[in-house]
């Protein structure tokens, strides 16, 4: 049984900026532990010579030439801002930033 503590779930929720109640934390700790256990079964069949896989396709070096895409394949400022909740002077407006990077 993978141990996933309630504190670990709370930490992850904080990093992901998800607010969770105590009851939700208890519930998720249990459910996530079950998921981790299921995934951990994969470890039983892997051998040392199988590297962890992040990309399912055996591809490398898919690149594009350094050529500017034409305007109609990009966005105008108006299009870019069309879904923004607020804007000013062609810029996205965001609420006060509380901490410096």
């Amino acid at each position: 049984m993978s141990a996933l503590s309630r504190e670990q779930v709370a930490h992850l929720a904080g990093l992901a900026r998800i607010q969770m109640t105590d009851a939700e934390l208890d519930k998720m700790a249990g459910e996530l532990a079950v998921i981790l256990d299921s995934v951990a079964q994969v470890g039983e069949v892997t051998a040392q010579d199988i590297p962890p896989m992040s990309h399912p396709l055996p591809l490398t070096n898919v690149t594009r030439p350094d050529v500017v895409r034409p305007l109609d394949e990009r966005l105008t400022a108006q299009q870019a801002l069309s879904g923004a909740p607020a804007q000013e002077d062609g810029r996205f407006e965001v609420p006060r930033i509380l901490s410096e990077d």
Binding site: N61, V62, R64, D66, R74, T76, R96
Partner: protein
């Protein structure tokens, strides 16, 4: 804030009596590719806000990034020039954080598989004796690919900074521009020269980027930025001290000053029995101090994971060697070679290097100017202005071709030194090429002998008494006659030639 109150500093020599400084430098270089790292948006500086964006760099759902081939080539060339190993296989990673300068809520970067690692850069600092240079080797930890962030504008409040702002405005034109992060290993053993090593290292990286033609590396425009990690180790201890990270130090001079200041500030805390707080700090160019930023823990949790939307990069020995063949002559070796070819003293070469004139002189000599004239013009008035204006020599209307043209006008005898200076003024005032300026301003030595002879004869006829004195042997009296001829020719005659002409007319030996 109490942490930002004026902090006591320890005398620099006293710091070094008790502590050994340790430094780590992170330099970010914006590549000068035509397009962004993961999309085909242009990268032009100064465009209207949010006009160089697309679904990829705005992080819109479903958009898929594709790597810029020139970005990969550039970082491999940078890695090779920094004497690094190049990874045969590596991936991109997502660095997750919530901050509005990254619309995706993560920055695409590299984590434990940087494309270049384990290198070094030899940097030159002035030798203690003041003539020549000493070489200091800075070890490179890694160079990796990532992307720049958008630009924020903080509105409201009094300072234009985040603190006290009412809201912020975001322009994502810069978001996604290729950024190469170059990280040093801890630099030790430089002692009191540490601030100089910091400056020399950043200068050497900058010079290398320009030589590789991968970035314009202009710190004042933000296309090259430096973060400086500094800590102090008590002498005789093997235990590293707590470090601070001073962010965005944006000139070579500031790098030196910021490292020196942090050594003195931390020295005061430690000498007083206190502990240094692990934090980011902000450098203030105007007051020459750093102030506290946010607290920083070693275990910042960015939840890095391999970027699933980007295919891994694999390099073969053949590809790497083909790129190695494109590397320019290392700037340090090139300077030595050019100094020899040009016949400059160490001091003259030092002036040329600090004026940023090496390439311009090289081009001027190639265009036909003498090395001496090239040095004189590039380290003269234009260098004085560039220094005063905080600009670079190439920002002015003077070009290597113009220097060669001006030098040729002087050598052919059309201009004397003071006229050439006036022509330089005109060129810098964008009045045209040296010939155009000389023509427009009517600057030309009178070389037409008959015209000069006529002027001399007229002056001799008007000043018979003085002429007689000169004839009688009072050669110094000729000065008055020379002055009159110069006046009559509006200063456009060569004084030595006038003197010779007067004396020969009067039958006196010079």
């Amino acid at each position: 804030m109490s942490t930002n109150a004026i902090q006591p500093v320890l005398d620099y020599d006293e710091v070094l009596e008790s502590f050994d400084p340790v430094m780590g430098l992170e330099v970010h270089v914006e590549l000068s590719t035509h397009t962004k790292m993961f999309c085909g948006c242009p990268t032009d500086f100064g465009a209207e806000p949010n006009t160089q964006v697309c679904p990829v760099c705005l992080g819109l759902p479903g958009a898929l990034p594709v790597v810029n081939a020139v970005g990969v080539e550039s970082v491999i060339r940078i890695g090779l020039a920094l004497n690094c190993q190049i990874a045969s296989w590596c991936r991109f990673a997502r660095k997750n954080y919530f901050y509005p300068d990254m619309p995706k809520n993560f920055q695409t970067s590299q984590y434990d598989e940087p494309i270049a690692f384990d290198g070094y850069l030899d940097v030159e600092i002035p030798s203690r004796t003041g003539d020549g240079v000493e070489v200091f080797r800075v070890e490179i930890e890694r160079a990796h690919m990532e992307e720049d962030t958008g630009k924020s504008l903080h509105v409201g409040g009094s300072t234009g900074r985040i603190q006290g702002a009412d809201y912020s405005l975001l322009d994502y034109n810069r978001a996604g521009i290729p950024l190469i992060e170059i990280v040093t290993k801890p630099v030790r053993g430089a002692g009191e020269r540490m601030p100089e090593v910091a400056k020399a290292y950043v200068a050497a990286v900058r010079e290398l980027m320009v030589a590789l033609d991968v970035s314009d590396a202009r710190m004042e425009q933000g296309s090259m930025r430096c973060d400086a990690n500094v800590s102090l180790m008590p002498k005789g201890s093997a235990q590293l001290g707590t470090r601070t990270e001073t962010k965005n130090v944006n000139s070579l001079r500031s790098v030196e000053r910021a490292v020196r200041y942090e050594m003195m500030r931390q020295g005061a805390i430690l000498a007083d029995g206190g502990t240094v707080r692990q934090e980011t700090r902000h450098w203030h160019e105007d007051t020459g101090v750093t102030t506290a930023g946010r607290e920083k823990s070693d275990a910042e949790d960015y939840r890095y994971f391999p970027e699933p939307d980007l295919i891994p990069i694999a390099t073969t020995t053949e590809q790497v060697e083909a790129l190695r063949a494109t590397l320019p002559e290392p700037p340090g070796l090139r300077r030595k070679r050019l100094q020899g070819e040009w016949g400059y003293s160490d001091r003259e070469m030092g002036d040329v290097v600090s004026a940023g004139a090496v390439d311009l002189i090289d081009a001027s000599v190639a265009a036909g100017a003498t090395p001496a004239a090239s040095r004189k013009w590039w380290t003269g008035e234009v260098a004085r202005r560039a220094n005063a204006d905080g600009k670079e020599l190439g920002d002015y209307a003077l070009t290597p071709a113009f220097v060669a043209e001006l030098d040729s006008l002087v050598r052919s005898g059309r201009l004397n030194d003071s006229m050439a200076r006036q022509v330089m003024e005109g060129v810098l005032a964008q009045e045209g090429s040296p010939t155009e300026v000389a023509d427009a301003r009517g600057l030309e030595l009178v070389q037409d002998d008959s015209a000069l002879e006529a002027a001399v004869d007229a002056v001799l006829a008007d000043n018979a008494a003085i002429a007689d004195k000169v004839r009688g042997g009072k050669v110094q009296a000729a000065g008055a006659l020379i002055g009159q001829v110069m006046k009559a020719t509006k200063g456009q005659a060569d004084a030595a030639q006038v003197r010779a002409l007067i004396l020969s007319r009067l039958g006196v030996e010079g």
